[in-house]
Subunit: 585 residues, 2 copies
């Protein structure tokens, strides 16, 4: 059938099962064309074409409930549920987000983007159904990579106790973003190698009726499997062995690189634009590998995202046992680091801002209370990072800096980052997090101190009067621009690099009162619970005025950097306008 | 041997295995005497006497590393490692904390109090050992109840990949704090019923060599089991079937009540003091049960602590399927609630302040981004709650109120709590958390509005001038006392109940500027990232002075309420002193 005739899953239900393979081919071709032109999650979606068609062919969404884990594999789901144009017409490519989105369609039940939550959310839908006395099917679709997150276990553990219809589809493509890590994956491999017959069986140990589909890209076999479990009154796992990147040779061959990617040449798989600029991932990995050579206890840790800290497969080989991927399991990563530090090793855990919030309790309990001298690198903690609502890097300052005992450092450029990293890996007194500056790498050629153990000493970089600009981390550059702008208007501002997000330099702040009437704070994150508010409280009963700049407490989705900056007055001219007007009041 | 001759594990290693049962009897008798006089974790410790003796008899701590999950079962460990006096001499009962504590002893490796972390921490110790090239044993001791937490899975999943010595002792007493919930427990039961022989086997599915000890309170059998695994080069699970409350009939019979308890009459097991005062747990449970009768979709959720929300076994029976215990799995609880709300049900998740931080990511992603209208009751969010450093209730304001879209309400008394609870369970627009006031239940007889959907409207309860006191939640009463004190000194303060911790009433705050020069904020939590700082930021560039009262950002352990309040100037007279002096400046 023609793809543009598909407006809802009902349109494919009219086909015979025999016609589905051809439909899958058409869908895959269209999908690949968009992926090559637009970028996105490539491998996960190519691998799920048949399973998605079969799910919508067999089940009756939206009455039946489908919850996709992470939901980065739902492009075909979107194609089948009224959003085909966003995949077939380049003018409409950006009409849809990269994840499920209830704002787009009643077929999308949740806005999702973090792993390992689907089973839990589906248990809620199933329990609500049972309380209402209804009978629709509830299906959670989860990838093998997502099973490493503890919440997936929690969801499975509870889901099997519902005593009613509950179907978990495990899309096992034998890959996380990179290769899988964890003993669970030995069990999945054993199951694949024995056509699902082997014991032990993780899913059976948790009480699930178990079905194995050896050819998870065979739509006919999938339809058959789903028909067998539809309407079940038991907890069921349907384990599909699929091929990540299925049907596109370069993506089948290079599964890690094609997990997510920018536009590429469809004939070769090569990226259309090669970004050769330096990035903090490479800087971090190269620096850590150098440290590893000098100290065999230096350990780099990732929770399933080695690329974030620059550990591609070559560097992973070089680092050997000094590189650890725990799978997508941030809680484990943080507590592993704490144990390593207590055991005398030197752990570095590099993690995306939006994902570190999955381990707040471990940061507080296992690290901070225990004063374990771990080092964390927080990547993409910035408004100039990922713009999907599920991946915002705006909240980590409020999260980490308010944990007693954590030292949260905000370097302003590459040189300061490396100075702080060196100190942190050397010292053994404090848990330290370093907020990697957002945006492009800034190389200043400046020298920075080697020792940061005298906590909360801010650094005055330009001495002035009337107004002091305290500009943290990546926003130090904005602070410089504001200072320049103010100078051009006849002011003589003081500029300060606070360096520490987790504490106040009371002595310096007190001394500012002599020659300043206004302090402005700049931070690359939400204002609520953040850095600037601490300054505002400090000056609460003094004559000093304080104006805090940062982001309003809200969620944004796929925003434009410039527009968001403007809406929050994060522009040198606007801030200078405010300053001048406040100084004149 | 005489207990007071035991100064370290070496002293018991001199005994023959045959002498160990008598030692266990002596230890248990002494332990029971202290527990009856002093209170504490009763059942978990009585059940672990033999296993602890056997661990220290077989392994060579502190060279061998023992990590106890939650560490509430380590009383005998403390008795054997130089702290006997704290269990045999009433004058020294309070010399030790209720958890492992590196400040007390080198045999205690971590300060622990939250569940499910031990395996992860132990993986860090094991990995550090391997990097150093050493060979000591690393042993994690974890109860069956703690296995429901996702992090325990994450730790097991990684631990089996170490490829070296890694021993997990599962202390299976067939109980969490209350009865266990989750399909994993069916598997543990199957293993107990088959002397460990059955398939499927959860631990084997994760790659562990599996040993079963049917009589986990038989010290001779335990010594034998531990000797078999000592020095192993594989990941090993030793699964012990133990008896919670072993050796004390009332504790064996009433396992939930004797999990943790106040002093009791050793001859009967009855508590020495019966507290008949009303508490928020009972108020909550009774109110929810009433709601459940009127709406079959009202669901009360707990993560393994039903007592916190007043659901004793009788009430659990009454609530039937409208009460859900997911086991100790806060992530699952939060996302289950989100799924229930999306499915049209009315979930209430009651949780201890210190434990909700285990589910920050779920609050942000699965609830707030999805605007799921769940209701959470946050219990013990107060300085007048639990005083163990691992259980402080000081951090939830900073945690929850800075998540966009969450409505965090702070009732000041029983009547206001119930009004807010009724509204929250009725509405379907917002995720709502209600901070149950700390301390004794306050009954005011006052009437409160039924509708809180006009967000962030503060309530002026006394109109005055010069100074306005914004007193949140349980600290409203302190605000009243400050107001009274100020009146006695000739001031006429305004008093405000802000009701909302998650947003500012800009209109009201603006209007205060007309007749006030000073605002003070009172909150029952840390100042950093909290409520007061938002007020300070609001007035940052106005003439209004702001002084914030709350707790300094720090960890405290087993503190005295009065001393902590004094140290933070949280006393009416001290605050009034500050106010008078600020108004005169």
């Amino acid at each position: 059938m023609k793809l543009d005739e598909i407006h809802s899953p009902n349109d494919i239900k009219r086909l015979s099962v025999d016609e589905l393979p051809a439909l899958c081919d058409e869908l895959r071709a269209a999908l690949l064309k968009k992926l090559a032109a637009h970028g996105g999650h490539i491998g996960p979606n190519l691998g799920m074409v048949e399973a998605t068609v079969a799910l919508h062919y067999v089940f009756d969404a939206p009455a039946d409930k489908l919850v996709f884990d992470v939901s980065h594999q739902t492009y075909v789901h979107k194609m089948l549920t009224g959003r085909m144009e966003a995949f077939t017409d380049p003018a409409h490519y950006d009409d849809v987000t990269g994840y499920t989105n209830p704002g787009e369609s009643p077929y999308d039940l949740f806005t999702l983007g973090h792993t390992s939550t689907s089973v839990s959310l589906a248990t809620g839908l199933a329990k609500a159904r049972d309380l209402r006395g209804d009978t629709e099917n509830v299906v959670a679709v989860i990838g093998d990579g997502s099973l490493s997150g503890g919440q997936a276990f929690e969801g499975l553990d509870y889901g099997a106790t519902l005593g009613s219809n509950f179907i978990v589809v495990v899309n096992d493509n034998d890959m996380s973003i990179a290769e899988n890590h964890g003993s669970l994956y030995d069990n999945l491999r054993l199951l694949r190698e024995t056509d699902g017959q082997a014991e032990p069986n993780y899913f059976k140990s948790l009480g699930y009726e178990y079905h194995y589909v050896a050819y998870g890209n065979d739509v006919v076999a999938l339809v058959d499997a789903f028909r067998r479990v539809r309407g079940t009154h038991h907890p069921v796992v349907v384990h599909l062995a699929t091929q990540k990147g299925k049907g596109y040779a370069p993506a089948e061959a290079h599964r890690e690189r094609f997990h997510y990617g920018a536009p590429f040449d469809i004939s070769t798989g090569e990226p259309l634009r090669i970004d050769t600029s330096e990035d903090y991932a490479d800087i971090t990995a190269e620096h850590l590998i150098e440290m590893m050579g000098a100290d065999r206890t230096v350990t780099a840790i990732t929770a399933g995202t080695p690329g974030v800290i620059g550990f591609d497969s070559d560097r992973r080989r070089v680092a050997g046992s000094q590189f650890v991927d725990v799978g997508i399991a941030e809680q484990q990563a943080v507590s592993l680091a704490s144990g390593l530090a207590k055991g005398g090793a030197k752990p570095f855990f590099g993690v995306v801002s939006s994902f570190i919030q999955r381990a707040y309790d471990q940061l507080s309990q296992d690290v901070a209370i225990n004063r374990s001298p771990i080092t964390m690198g927080i990547f993409y903690g910035t408004m100039y990072g990922m713009t999907d609502v599920t991946h915002l890097g705006w909240f980590d300052i409020a999260l980490i800096s308010n944990i007693p005992g954590f030292v949260y450092l905000a370097p302003t450029c590459k040189e300061e980052y490396l100075a702080m990293l060196d100190w942190s890996m050397r010292q053994s007194e404090y848990p330290v997090a370093i907020r990697i500056p957002g945006g492009a790498v800034r190389v200043t050629g400046r020298e920075f101190p080697a020792d940061y153990s005298d906590l909360n000493r801010y650094c005055v970089t330009r001495c002035g009067s009337d107004v002091a600009i305290i500009a943290a981390g990546a926003f130090y550059q904005l602070g410089e621009q504001v200072a320049d702008e103010l100078r051009s208007r006849g002011q003589n501002p003081t500029l300060i690099n606070p360096r520490y997000l987790s504490g106040l330099d009371a002595e310096l702040l007190g001394s500012l009162e002599e020659h300043h009437r206004l302090v402005i704070t700049l931070e690359d994150g939400i204002l609520d619970g953040g850095f600037g508010e601490k300054i505002a409280r400090f000056y609460g009963t003094s004559a000093m005025d304080v104006k805090c700049y940062g982001l309003r407490k809200e969620f944004a989705d796929r925003y434009d950097y410039t527009e968001l900056a403007h809406a929050n007055r994060l522009e040198p001219k606007l801030i200078a306008d405010d300053v001048v007007s406040l100084l004149c009041k």
